[in-house]
Structures are given as structure tokens and as C-alpha cells.
């Protein structure tokens, strides 16, 4: 297996219609871990995640994987904030990335049933995906992302609209994926979730990396008053 990490961001800037959305941002994603991107609404979390994934055009700076971009693209998956369901059955949604890749039929079937079981939808295989509940949709989106066996998995607020039980299901799947060697980068504004999962974290404010570090220091001894205020639950202007 090729290793596409580390990912280096150098002075990345995203501007749209003259407005700066993020930047300048410089950071490095190492080979392992779960990186949490935290920050208030509108701080640029989604934009940063999309830049890393390579689907947001950057106005300045560089985004560099250890391998050429076109090769790196095949080893990443992205789960969108509101899950995008293909208008197909659950099983066809799961199968879709494998079909794109031209995986042999027999292997497709094996992997699809394995993942249907892992995400707890094995009894819903023929249900139209658009009819699933919010939690089920998010699990399906996660399964469809992981079935590609990505080296890096990006998730944008995967538990934003979910209840406790559904959130726990997602977190369990993420920890399993991490244990199996998947590098995870996700945004959240749920501080409890960030603490439970993170090995390291980035605090975004006004489109800039305000503070970042390994989770022990980040959560227990935040340095900037803004991050301290964020943890206290204050509203940050």
C-alpha cells in the first residue's frame, strides 16, 4: 500500500469574491491519529477540510501530499455534513464506489455484506437510501466512504444532527477504522466528542489556525484566551 501521508499545507489561502474565507494556513498532517478541527460557525472548518481533500480551489499556497495529487485522490474519502444519498437502494449505495473502481463482482459482494453488517444496515439492504433515518443515512455514508479502504478519511460534522445513540454508533465506527489504520480528520463543534476521539486538534478562528497541538495539552492547557473561552462555552466574536 502506498502511503500518501504526510500532508503539508503551506500558506494556503481561499478567497471568494474578494473575501478571505481561510488563510494563511500552514499545518502538517502526520501519518497516524485522529485530528479534530474545532471552531465556531463560519470559522472556516468546512473550507479547510475541503481544501485538504482537494475539492476546494485554493487562491494561494500549496497543498502537498507525499505522492502526486491524482494518486492521493484515490486513497481518500470524504463524508459530507448532510449525507448525500444516491437515489438507489442501501446495497447499491454501498456498492457504488467499488463499481467505479472496477472491483471484481465476487469481491464487491463480500465487501458490501461485510460493511452492511458493520454499519448495522444488513436488514435494510433493499430499502431506498433516501428513506433512511438521519442516523442510518450517516452510517451508510460512512460505510460507503470506508468501503473504499481509504488511507485518510475526512468527516464534516458527522454527528451534527444526531441523537446520543446514533452519535455513539458513529464514534464506534470511527475508532474501529482508526484502529485498523485509517487516518481521520474531522470537524465538530461538539467539544465532548472532540475530547473523546482526538489525538490532536486544531482550533480555527476567523479562517486562521488560532491554536493547535496534541490533545492532552490542547484540551487540558489551552494557551490562547479565545480557546479557553471556547471551552467555557462563551460566544467568541
Amino acid at each position: 500500500m502506498t502511503n500518501i501521508l504526510p500532508l503539508n499545507l503551506k500558506d494556503v489561502m481561499v478567497k471568494r469574491r474578494g473575501k478571505r474565507l481561510i488563510g494563511p494556513v500552514s499545518t502538517k498532517l502526520g501519518n497516524t491519529g485522529i485530528t479534530m478541527i474545532l471552531g465556531p460557525n463560519g470559522s472556516g472548518k468546512t473550507t479547510l477540510l475541503k481544501v485538504m481533500h482537494g475539492v476546494e480551489r485554493v487562491s494561494a499556497g500549496q497543498v502537498q501530499w507525499a505522492v502526486p495529487d491524482h494518486e492521493a485522490q484515490h486513497h481518500q474519502s470524504y463524508v459530507f455534513q448532510s449525507p448525500i444519498m444516491l437515489r438507489r437502494s442501501v446495497i447499491d449505495n454501498l456498492r457504488y464506489p467499488l463499481q467505479l473502481h472496477g472491483t471484481p463482482k465476487a469481491e464487491q459482494e463480500a465487501r458490501v455484506s461485510e460493511w452492511a453488517r458493520k454499519i448495522g444496515l444488513e436488514d435494510h439492504l433493499s430499502v431506498q437510501a433516501t428513506r433512511l433515518s438521519g442516523g442510518e443515512k450517516q452510517r451508510l455514508a460512512l460505510g460507503r466512504a470506508l468501503i473504499r479502504r481509504p488511507e485518510v478519511l475526512f468527516l464534516d460534522e458527522p454527528c451534527a444532527n444526531l441523537d446520543g445513540a446514533s452519535t455513539r454508533d458513529i464514534e464506534t465506527l470511527l475508532l474501529e477504522a482508526h484502529a485498523a489504520g485509517t487516518r481521520i480528520v474531522m470537524t465538530t463543534h461538539n467539544i465532548g466528542q472532540a475530547k473523546r476521539l482526538a489525538t490532536d486538534a486544531i482550533f480555527l478562528l476567523h479562517g486562521e489556525i488560532w491554536e493547535s497541538g496534541p490533545s492532552a495539552r490542547f484540551f487540558d492547557a489551552p494557551e490562547t484566551p479565545e480557546l479557553q473561552a471556547f471551552f467555557r462555552g462563551d460566544i467568541i466574536a
Partner: protein
């Protein structure tokens, strides 16, 4: 009033007895319209989908032209095709005027913009929904088109049905380019116009019933065909 009752009765018997003339005219209508529909769909469905997902320089202009073409009066289309196919026209040597082929040409021109426009509309919505996912999954242009056509097939069917409806009921253009020749280019709509003019309401009404029945049954047939595979959808 008695005219109509008489007509209805006669029409009923013509249909029941499978009158050979009625049958021939009906089959020709179906043949011309279905041929046009197949050709028009083969052009319009991929083209409408392409318009929905590809950004190119004259895209907006193309869409405006398409919408304008949709409003073309069929009679004018008929006139233009007539001029092109007439003996002194550029395609005169082909000798196509007053043949079913000329009628198919006119029909294709009339229904292609309609099907393409409905397709474009539906596919644009689907593409907006799928865009981020398909980009993220690193799909090729061709994989995107295939995915959209497959998942939007119900919409495409609807677009084609609209084309069929417009084609089967069309009279102006095919009257001009077909000439309503007995045993050659007479179809349901032109026959109705002719028989009504002659005052033969029985035949006209019978033809009218068949026309309506055809339109409805093709719709039902296509819908039930597509239903079998999408049980439990939505």
C-alpha cells in the same frame, strides 16, 4: 345532437370490428411517432444531461435557443421541412416529400427540443444533489453521465412521454410534409381533420377514440414497466 349519438355508435362498431382502414391508420400513427420518439430521445436525453453537467462557453445561449425551439409552431416546422424536401429544395433529390420519413423528420424537429429541455431541467437538479459526492469519489465524466442517467431514469421516462404526447397528437406539420395521402401517409390526426371536413363524424370520432386510447395506453404501459423495478420507491 343526433349526429353525435349516431357518430358514437358507428365509432363503437368500427373499433369493435377492427375496421381494416382504422387499423392501418392507427398503426401508421404509432409507427411514425415511435420512430420519431426513438430518434429524438437518442439525441435529446444525452444532450440534455450534458447541458446539465458541463460548463462551456455558450451554455446559456444554447439553453435559450433550446427553450425557443420548444415554442416553434409545428406548422412552421412543417413549412420549412417542406421547402427543404420539395423538388426544388436542397434535399429534393432524395424524394422524401409526402413519405412517412418526411413526417418523422418533422416530428423529430418538433419533439427533440421538448425532451431535451425537460431532461436538462431534471438532470440539473439531480446533478446539484450529487455534485459534491461524485467529485469527491473521483468519477470520470462518463461515469457521472452514466450515474445521472441511471438514477434519473424516471425523469427521463417522463421527458420521453411528454415527447410522445406531443408527437402523437400533432397535426399541422405532418399534414404539410406528409400530405395526408390515403394508404401512404394518412395518420390518425390528419384523418380526423379530413373526415371532420367531409362531415363523416362517425369515422372522425372513431379515430379520435383510438387516438386517445393510444396515448393513454402507451403512458400506462411505460409507467407500469418502470414500476416493476422500483417497487417501494419513495
Amino acid at each position: 345532437m343526433s349526429d353525435i349519438v349516431e357518430g358514437l355508435t358507428a365509432a363503437f362498431w368500427l373499433v369493435i370490428s377492427l375496421d381494416p382502414e382504422l387499423l392501418e391508420i392507427s398503426l401508421r400513427s404509432l409507427q411514425v411517432t415511435l420512430t420519431s420518439l426513438v430518434i429524438a430521445s437518442a439525441i435529446a436525453l444525452p444532450f440534455g444531461t450534458f447541458l446539465a453537467i458541463r460548463r462551456f462557453r455558450y451554455r446559456r445561449l444554447t439553453i435559450s435557443v433550446l427553450n425557443a425551439l420548444m415554442g416553434l409552431p409545428p406548422v412552421v416546422v412543417g413549412l420549412i421541412v417542406y421547402i427543404l424536401l420539395s423538388r426544388s429544395g436542397p434535399f429534393g433529390v432524395l424524394g422524401l416529400l409526402f413519405t412517412p420519413t418526411a413526417m418523422v423528420i418533422a416530428q423529430v424537429i418538433i419533439i427533440t427540443p421538448l425532451i431535451a429541455s425537460i431532461t436538462h431541467q431534471a438532470m440539473r437538479e439531480l446533478w446539484a444533489e450529487y455534485h459534491d459526492l461524485l467529485i469527491s469519489l473521483n468519477t470520470s465524466q462518463w461515469q457521472r453521465i452514466k450515474t445521472l442517467i441511471w438514477d434519473g431514469r424516471r425523469n427521463l421516462l417522463t421527458a420521453s412521454l411528454a415527447g410522445f404526447g406531443r408527437g402523437i397528437g400533432e397535426v399541422g406539420a405532418i399534414m404539410i410534409v406528409g400530405g395526408n395521402i390515403d394508404n401512404a401517409t394518412r395518420v390518425l390526426t390528419t384523418a380526423i381533420a379530413l373526415e371532420t371536413g367531409k362531415g363523416d363524424f362517425a369515422l372522425a370520432l372513431a379515430l379520435g377514440f383510438v387516438l386517445i386510447a393510444l396515448a393513454i395506453s402507451v403512458n400506462i404501459a411505460i409507467h407500469s414497466l418502470s414500476r416493476t423495478e422500483r417497487e417501494g420507491r419513495w
